[in-house]
Amino acid sequence: MAKVFIYPATSLILSDLVARFGHKPLGAALGIRERIQTAGVDSPPLQITPEEPKRGLKYAAVEVPSGVRGRMAIYGPLLEEAEAAVIVTDADLAFGCMGCARTDELILFTLRQSGIPILELKYPTNEEEGVQFVAAVRKFLAGLEKEGEA
């Protein structure tokens, strides 16, 4: 079982397919859950503390806005953990404020630089593309199993 980073990190479809085909999806929920379940000092509305931008320094330079570094404190450890990635490139749900947009760019850049196996796709727009989409994900994930065995 490989740890597969999914982008968009909140994607239901990718999360489900990766888990369905026997791997562990790494998405935003895992990072958020870790913070939600850690006791500490409250910083509404999220359990993001002033410490997060400092932790984010590991993944982005100090000149990078703290909003990006704060987000990278969540995604960075997941990216380090990832053994493969599935990316949907035209995901129109992966939008947000400038902090989210720049973090998304940094996530994609980091993934492409990391050298792990990556599958890039577009969301299906009809049934035939749906078959191809699922087939491509299944084939990619099956290939990971073989790599792990070798």
Binding site: P8, T10, S11, L12, I13, S15, D16, L17, A19, P25, G27, A28, A29, L30, G31, I32, R33, R35, I36, Q37, T38, A39, G40, V41, D42, S43, P44, P45, L46, Q47, T89, D90, D92, L93, E120, L121, K122, Y123, P124, T125, N126, E127, E129, G130, V131, Q132, F133, V134, A135, A136, R138, K139
Partner: protein, 155 residues
């Protein structure tokens, strides 16, 4: 800043989405309750949220999926159910993340079709792969159109 004492420590929460012609979220909830064994289940308009010990949740998800494998989809959730930072009862509108779910829910039928078709064709069947998306440059905004937009905005 107040001290933060988290609820449901050590548990996992998962969303279960059902997009099926033969099963409603209410029916799925009833059947899930029968197999829950201590897992907290919350019925929603799209399916369920289940919260509990990781092993119990995994076991329940396995049982739930078996009801309608190609029409039931599962993903992790960071927040526990009813968390005031995410619960729409406190926010007065759609909860953050709702729009993403709505967008993906519309294309779940294509994924269902893919799962059913691959199931029918079997493991070895050849399926043409989608061509990898080319990273095309988006056409630049025409200067005349920009000028027009600015003028429209100003008037």
């Amino acid at each position: 800043m107040a001290e933060y004492i988290p609820d449901y420590v050590g548990t996992v929460t998962k969303y279960v989405f059902v997009e099926s012609p033969s099963m409603t979220p209410g029916e799925l909830a009833l059947r899930a309750y029968e197999a829950s064994e201590g897992v907290l289940i919350k019925e929603t308009c799209f399916g369920l949220q289940v919260t509990g010990e990781p092993e119990s949740v995994d076991r329940l998800i396995e049982v739930i999926r078996a009801f309608d494998p190609s029409h039931i989809f599962v993903k992790d959730r960071g927040f526990p159910p009813g968390d005031p930072r995410r619960c729409r009862a406190n926010l007065g509108g759609a909860r953050p993340g709702y729009l993403g779910h709505e967008r993906e829910f519309r294309i779940l039928r294509y994924i269902t079709r893919g799962l059913e078709e691959l199931d029918r064709r079997g493991e070895e069947a050849e399926v043409p792969e989608p061509t990898p998306p080319a990273r095309e440059k988006k056409p630049k905004l025409d200067i005349k159109r920009l000028q027009k937009l600015i003028e429209t905005e100003e008037s």
